[in-house]
Every structure is written in C-alpha cells, then in structure tokens.
C-alpha cells in the first residue's frame, strides 16, 4: 500500500472523528480554527546539474488547524496540510500533521492519534529527534515533519517525566522528484522502498523517554526500537537506461541523550545517540553553545552567537552522511521591533573536505497577520566526495509570504 492511500485513510479517520466530536459537543467550551496560506518562490542561481530541472519554481500551501476542548481535560486537535508545487510533483503533497485526542489529569497524560513530538537541544543538526519522519521536500533543514500515528503516554512526576510511545505505522520519508532541485544526483524512487522487517510499514515501533530538570540542566534520555527514519539509499535499476535510488529502511535500536544547560550568560546544548542494528553499530554527537549579547550598540537589538560541532562515527566512509565531522557557527539578530524582524546567518563547514553551506534566514511581520520570510542558501567549495555534492549547483533564494487568519 502506498503512503498516499494511507494518507487518505488518515484523512477519512480524522474526518469521522471530527464529525463525531461535533455531534457530542453540547458542553463545548472552546473551539478554534486557524488557517495559514502561503505562497513561495524559489530562484536558483545556476542551471540544475541534471536534465528537466528548472531555475525557478513557485508553490502554494494551505495549513488548516482545528482545536476543540471537549472537556476541560479532554482535547481534540487536528492540522492538515497541502502543497502544490509548479516544478516537482513529489513536492505537491499533503499530510495530516496532527489528528489527536488528548486526555490528561494530574498524574498522567494520554495522547491517541497522529501527532508531532520533538526531541533535542541543538540548533543546526537535529540528531536525536526520531519519532516523526522528515518531510524532506518541504525544507532542507529537516525541521518539517510528517504526522506520526501513535499512542503516547506521559507520567509527570516531581523527579521528571516518563513517556512511552507505541508507533503502529511507519511513515516514509519524502524526497524531491526527478524535476526537483536540492536532490541527490540520482532521484530517489519512493515507490520502490525496501524494508528489513517483513512487516514493512506495519512494524510496531516502541520508544521510552525520561526527561528531567536538575537545577540549571534539562536532560532527556531515550531508547527507541523500530524502523530507522533515515533510509540507506540503494542503487536500483528499473530498466537498462533508468537508474534510481531506493530507500532501504532498517530495524534499529537507538539510545539517545539531549541536554540543555545554562551557565551564567552561556547556554550549552548537546545531543548524542548510539545505534545498533545496521551492519555496524555506531554513535553520533553534536554539541555547542549559545551566547546572547543583549541591547547591542545601545539599541533594543539582541545578538546571539552560536557555535556547534557534529561528529558521526560513520566518518570512515562506511555509510557517508552530510554531517560527519563538521563545524557550525551562526549569528542570530533579533531587532525587537514591532514587526519582529529576525535575521539568522549560519555556516556549516566540513572539516576534512572544506565543503561549506551558508544559509541566511530573514523574517518579519507585515501588519498583524502577514509574515514575510526570505531564505537563501549557498553551497561553496563542495567536494565531489561529499554526500552533499549533489547540491553544489543549487544555490537558491526563496521568498515566502504567509497569511494567517
């Protein structure tokens, strides 16, 4: 069954849930509906490296959120998303990001449905965030995620919170299609996904997590057992003339740690995991700092200075990844004006090869309900052995307008 049919199944289930809730909402205390409509345009500064790629593309997306407080401690929320892209049919896609029923009391919280969970502490690379699949066609930074079906139990205590997750359905990663930019040299054919587990997408994944705050430190520790979210890309031949990559999803066990610590004016962050189940066990870590200068140059502006490092034990070339041994630094300027102007400048540099990615993100509000986002990424000195080499000709500027109502 393809991910698309499953998506329709979610949509239907979500719809039925919703109708059900409307029927029984006699003592409704809160109902909210929010819509976001966005239009974005990409301008690529060079011609694509591969045939059928264009230098510009446009797309529009809608995001609808519904929230209903059925009882004081029993909530329903739903978020549906759909994008139409002018260039890449793989980027024309939709997703139920959230469709969840949440019950809580003083001693526990149970969430049932499709949800989003974030784990992690660092700013540049999100290593330990594993519950949700990455919606790779959306953003290069991997921060956009697909909704994950789950049963999620949280037990908050004075000494921390214990969480258990049962994940009954696996979501496949999205990849840009043949016409899309910002892709691997050979396109990834998502219809040819291969699984280590015979249960394929129905494999039931499990996760347990403990989080606590100890003085100036926030700590999270977890164990995950199930299908790796990041597939290994295998070369496959559909026909003698047509080569593509097939995602191969393996079964893994992963122990992860994330840490945020304040020390005076400094904020220290770190993440690490150890993974078993692939052909070799390995570990990866990222850590760094954030230092904020408040009220620079006698203005209201704050300037944050970020420095991070990432190391992946697969550095020996066994299974190349983009972030193997890289150093990252960034400047984050918050102007603190009425329009909430923010500018982020980030540089990621591979220590061995010198391949460098530079990204600028600027964002401001226009009036009360419009936001303007300007992003640009430049791929500099990309080494031909770097897994990110495919991006070498994809320098881009992206402008996005978002309306909220």
């Amino acid at each position: 069954m393809s991910d698309n049919t499953i998506f329709q199944k979610y949509l239907l289930t979500g719809g039925i849930c919703l109708c059900f809730l409307f029927l029984f909402n006699c003592n409704s205390s809160a109902f909210e509906a929010d819509t976001e409509l966005s239009v974005q345009g990409f301008l690529f500064l060079e011609n694509g490296a591969w045939p059928h790629q264009e230098s510009y593309s446009a797309s529009t997306a809608v995001d609808l959120e519904i929230y209903h407080e059925i009882l004081n401690n029993f909530h329903f929320s739903m978020e549906a998303f759909y994008r139409i892209d002018s260039l890449d049919k793989e980027r024309t896609h939709g997703d139920i990001r959230v469709a969840e029923l949440l019950y809580f009391n003083d001693n526990l919280e149970i969430m049932l449905g499709v949800g989003r969970v974030f784990w992690g502490a660092t700013e540049f690379v999100h290593l330990v965030d594993i519950i949700n699949q990455t919606d790779q066609v959306e953003e290069l930074d991997g921060e956009e995620k697909l909704g994950q079906p789950m049963i999620h139990l949280t037990v908050p205590r004075n000494w921390g919170a214990v969480e258990a997750f049962v994940l009954p359905w696996f979501r496949e990663r999205t990849f840009p299609g043949e016409n899309g930019r910002l892709r691997t040299p050979l396109p990834v054919d998502t219809d040819r996904a291969v699984y280590e587990s015979g249960a394929e997408q129905s494999h039931i994944d499990l996760a347990f997590r403990y989080t606590t705050t100890m003085g100036n430190t926030d700590l999270g520790l977890y164990y995950f057992n199930g299908t790796a979210r990041d597939p290994v890309l295998l070369l496959s031949q559909n026909s003698p003339s047509n080569l593509s990559l097939s995602p191969f999803y393996e079964q893994i066990g992963q122990t992860g740690l994330d840490l945020q610590m304040t020390a005076g004016e400094w904020l220290f962050k770190g993440e690490a995991y150890y993974r078993t189940g692939q052909s070799r066990s390995y570990g990866a870590t990222t850590f760094g700092f954030e230092y904020t200068l408040v009220g620079i140059a006698e203005t209201m502006m704050d300037l944050g200075i970020l420095g991070e490092y990432v190391y992946d034990d697969r550095d020996d070339g066994w299974l190349p990844t983009i972030y193997e041994n890289d150093i990252m630094c960034g400047l984050r300027l918050a102007v603190n004006d009425m329009d909430d102007l923010n500018i982020l400048l980030g540089v990621i540099r591979d220590i061995h090869s010198g391949s460098t990615i530079m990204a600028i993100e600027a964002s401001r509000r226009l009036g009360e309900a419009i936001r303007l986002n300007l992003d640009a990424s430049f791929f500099i000195n990309m080494d031909s052995h770097d897994p990110a080499f495919g991006l070498a000709r994809d320098d881009f500027i992206k402008l996005e307008i978002v309306w909220y109502w």
Binding site: A30, E32, D34, Y67, E69, H75, L102, F104, D106, E109, R116, V117, F118, G120, E143, T154, P156, N158, A161, T211, T213, N216, D218, Q260, M261, T262, G264, E265, W266, L267, E290, T292, V294, G295, M300, D302, N336, D337, M338, D339, D340, R365, E368, A369, R371, V402, Y404, W405
Partner: protein, 267 residues
C-alpha cells in the same frame, strides 16, 4: 497562664531592639525603604494563584500601533519567587508561543520557551535581564516577579501624588551587572502600599523609562491588581501599555500546571 517572671521580662527587653518603633528608634533611609518594600510584599502574600488576560499595545514614536494578546497564569510559591506561564494568542504568527518562568528570590530565574510549530521546548538564558520582552518596552526584569530580595532600597521622601500620600523610594538591583538599570524610583501609596509609578534610570544614570500604573481593583477583599500599566521610553519615544482584564484568583492551579508536560499542551 504562666506568672510574669523576671526571665520573660528580660526576654522582652532583649527582643525590643529587633522590633524598632519608628517614633522611638531612628530608622535609616535604607531600613525604611526595605520596610516599605517588605510591607508591600507582605500585603500580597497568600493569593495562592491567579489567571488574567492581557493586551499589550506597542507604539512607536510616530504613533504606529501593534497589539499582542497574552493569557497569564501565576502560582505563588511559599519561600521563593512565583511560577508563571504566559501564552500568546496574537499576533497570529506567534500564536501558541508560551513562556514558563520560575522566578527565584536569589540567583537567576529559570525560563523555558515553547515553540508550537516545532512542538519544541527551549531553555532560555535568564541571566541577562535587560533584554526586551517580545519587542516591548518592558524588559524581562520588569515583567518578572518582583521579589524583595532582588533589590536594595533607600527611602527618599513622603509626598502627595495624584491626591494621595505616598512613599518615594529608590531601589538598586542586586545583580547590577546584568540589570539594565542603575536605579529605580518608586511611588507607593501609604494607605494600601500599591505601586503607582516607577522611574527607571539606565546604567549611565540617565532617565530611561517611566511606568505608570492605573485602575487598581481589590480582589478577595485583599489583593490589589491594576487594569493598566504604561511604560514610556524617554530616549526612543516608544511606549508599551499593558491592559489587564478577567482577573481570577485561587483557581486551583498547582505545580503540575507549571512543568514541561503542561507547557507542551498549552493552547
């Protein structure tokens, strides 16, 4: 009842100096300033918890306005600073963004930010208190729980202010290195010990901002809360007004409404 003994009499005599009677024993301006701050704090003790809705109106020097609506929950913590949770409803692009703050009498406050788009809880560094709170003229130290221990005090004078007798005192931040102020001058009414006005002096000792507090109402026959707090920045011409409404006291909040689990489900 025990008969009056010489022993208890000696005790009373020894204790007397520790309970200064203003008319008899001279009080330094520092002691009087502290006494006013402590009395003001004492009168607000025991509120337990409260919720309120706030509209924040930002205005630049050309008169251009921008509004934010924020819901607030506050929990009194015995022997330490309050816990508070603020959730943004507007502007729409930051809807659902929330701040969780554990303020402390001594040392840095603890603060977390919840970003709804990523469902992410981020720890924020609360050492530097002078930063602007969401682009407003209120800094984090203005918006934070005002604990007596965070300042030292000096009584200046008594005067008439808006037709009522007031105490005027100066206060100086204990953590002078990370505060945006060299001093504050506060006007507190003698009858109810309510804060009516504050002048903030920057680190170069020139007048930076003036806060005026209006529309006090009493809740549960004891606790005074204002409807309006207006702050004007004299150096930039910008201003911010906080309009408070829907105060509700002793709503049954507990520690469990102020942890990272509850932060992740705020709406």
């Amino acid at each position: 009842m025990k008969p009056f003994s010489l022993k208890t009499f000696t005790c009373y005599c020894l204790l007397l100096p520790f309970f200064p009677i203003p008319s008899v024993i001279a009080e330094t301006p520092e002691e009087k300033g502290l006494a006013i701050a402590m009395e003001s704090d004492r009168r607000d003790e025991g509120f337990g918890d409260y919720t309120a809705n706030m509209t924040m109106i930002l205005k630049n020097k050309h008169g251009k306005e921008s509004k934010r609506s924020i819901r607030n929950k506050t929990l009194e913590v015995k022997g330490d600073g309050d816990k508070s949770l603020s959730v943004f409803d507007t502007p729409r692009d930051v809807k659902g963004t929330a701040f969780l703050t554990f303020s402390h009498k001594v040392g840095d406050d603890e603060q977390w930010l919840y970003l709804p788009a990523l469902k992410r809880v981020k720890r924020i560094n609360s050492r530097n208190k002078s930063g602007s709170f969401m682009g407003s003229e209120f800094s984090y130290e203005d918006i934070a729980s005002q604990e007596v221990e965070k300042y030292t005090y000096k009584f200046i004078r008594e005067e008439e202010f808006q037709g009522q007798p007031v105490y005027v005192s100066e206060s100086y931040p204990v953590d002078a290195k990370n505060s945006g102020y060299s001093k504050r001058i506060s006007w507190v009414d003698k009858a109810e010990y309510r804060l009516l006005k504050v002048e903030f002096y920057d680190r170069k000792k020139s007048l930076l901002k003036t806060l005026t507090v209006d529309g006090y109402h009493q809740y549960l026959n004891k606790y005074w809360r204002a409807d309006s707090m207006s702050i004007v920045n004299h150096q930039t011409g910008k201003s911010t007004t906080l309009l408070w409404k829907d105060y509700s006291f002793q709503t049954g909040l507990s520690d469990k409404d102020f942890n990272s689990t509850s932060l992740k489900r705020v709406r």
